[in-house]
Symmetry: C2
Subunit: 187 residues, 2 copies
């Protein structure tokens, strides 16, 4: 496997970018059922090239999930800047959900994020947990949500919303689901 940080030959770097972009597109469309040769073809490279950069499909998927999680952390940090405690939480959840919309691969990852290990993204998960925990804690202290709400509830709720996205794709049905759950968070 080619480590991404080292000085890569120009063509190698170009191909790596293309592979990542294609993987993003195809995993988003087909979830983990996207095939390696499809990804290679979409990127305009051979299978060998894909496997030189990512020794296994799992690694490639992990890379996708990692970048998505990093994006989550950005959203959490931005939401934290909102003054109103409830609006901050609302922003966190709604924007996170919108981020996942349209990416079947990440939806699957989201659903399994509690259970599965996803070796290699513990760090990203932890970085996300921090601001999220603070946002929830602030909402609880302000009394704008039920007082037994904890950080643990966040992935659980997201799992539910995401499953509606995944299994009823296309529509905005998940927003209805989110609305129901949101009503349940109130004190």
């Amino acid at each position: 496997m080619i480590p991404p940080q080292k000085t890569l030959r120009a063509d190698a770097r170009r191909n790596r970018e293309r592979i990542l972009a294609s993987a993003q597109t195809l995993f988003a469309r087909d979830g983990d059922k996207a095939q390696m040769d499809e990804i290679a073809e979409h990127a305009g490279v051979g299978m060998g090239t894909v496997y030189r950069h990512f020794p296994t499909k799992e690694h490639l998927l992990t890379e996708m999930v990692r970048s998505r999680f990093t994006r989550f952390t950005e959203i959490a940090l931005e939401s934290e800047r909102i003054e109103d405690p409830f609006e901050a939480l609302e922003s966190l959840i709604v924007r996170s959900a919108e981020e996942v919309e349209g990416d079947a691969g990440f939806q699957l990852a989201m659903m399994g994020s509690d259970q599965l290990e996803w070796e290699g993204i513990e760090q990203e998960k932890a970085a996300f947990a921090e601001p999220t925990g603070r946002i929830i804690g602030r909402a609880v202290e302000a009394g704008v949500v039920r007082d037994d709400l904890t950080f643990e509830d966040f992935p659980m709720v997201m799992c539910g919303i995401t499953s509606t996205m995944y299994f009823s794709p296309g529509g905005a049905k998940w927003r209805r689901h989110l609305e129901l759950v949101f009503a349940g968070l109130r004190p």
Copy 2:
């Protein structure tokens, strides 16, 4: 494929029962990842025998799902007999969820029940929809739940609960999820 109703030779009938029981056990444990040769071995028959009774894995799965759905309808009819409109709805949802607990295969079917066709169980689905629709309608009229609640919301909510069961197995985490959602159903 051997139709189950006709006069079956004694050994054939016995084997059919064994196959169904084994399939139930293994699909419950492993979801749709349970393998046909495992099922055959567990039932103490050969692969050929399994395929004589059920021409494809899909058929076998469908048979499982069908019997589970029939059980759902029983639960709905029983719940309907409860006087209090909210308790009736509560009974329907909680008992349905408990029925699904511990059966990974059916959990998957539940999540996909909106989207997937599941050719051959439309009838069972319809039979279940009737009492369920009445229970929800009664709760809405009585004003014990939010007035925009519809039958459509039921599979959606179940999808969410079930996904927590599936992806956080073992624990009773899904009861927490259910509690949150339930709180959101109130007017």
